[in-house]
Symmetry: C2
Subunit: 128 residues, 2 copies
């Protein structure tokens, strides 16, 4: 795949998340995917995302920087959202918060096989 | 520059940090560099790094993932180090800790002009 192909594929993945189109998640996520060093698989990945949307009903993923060098993607995702109560162990008190996530993906063929994500917790703490 | 050229340049930058070779920092950092949305310039960048090494005397930068698509680099940096007292607002109590940083760079010519860094504070908290 070219960098451009990989970027298109990744944008399709982000659309899938934003539409909570869980029945299509397997198009993008490997059956034996790893997330931050843990084997969680497709089912664990879906469970994690469903939990994220339960805890943050207005969650939307916005790509602000996208770097593609096959088989890797690096993406900076920006969020403006309203966690229902707690997020990352913090009591957000129903506030609307903004923060970023810097996340790296390794693809195996056309599917995401490994994810390394870091969320900017300090930026959230600064808003509380 | 090719991805390979950019990777070589970036590895030179990391060597510069690990050798605390501040007189050469201007080879890699733009005079009007931005860090996490703030204009800090070369002098501010140097001051930030010198402070990091004062607070963490055994600080070393280790590249674990490196993604290059000119003019961008994305790098996952792994750290195993011993902050002297506090780090990221946490009392680390002289413990040796390990954590990662997911960081994105935009180059202007051969110099880093913009940095977007997120450090995995949650991983540090889990060790305390």
């Amino acid at each position: 795949m070219t960098p451009s192909d990989l970027r298109d594929l990744y944008r399709g993945y982000i659309d899938c998340l934003n539409h909570q189109d869980w029945s299509n998640l397997g198009t993008f996520i490997d059956e034996s995917g790893y997330y931050n060093g843990k084997l969680i698989g497709l089912s664990g990945y879906r469970a994690m995302l469903e939990k994220d949307f339960r805890e943050i009903p207005d969650l939307q993923f916005n790509i602000s920087v996208l770097i593609a060098e096959p088989p890797h993607i690096a993406s900076r995702l920006d969020f403006v959202c309203t966690p229902a109560s707690r997020f990352m162990g913090l009591d957000t008190g129903g506030r609307r918060i903004s923060f970023s996530e810097n996340v790296f993906y390794e693809f195996s063929g056309k599917k995401i096989a490994t994810v390394w994500s870091v969320i900017d917790k300090q930026a959230i703490e600064a808003q509380l």
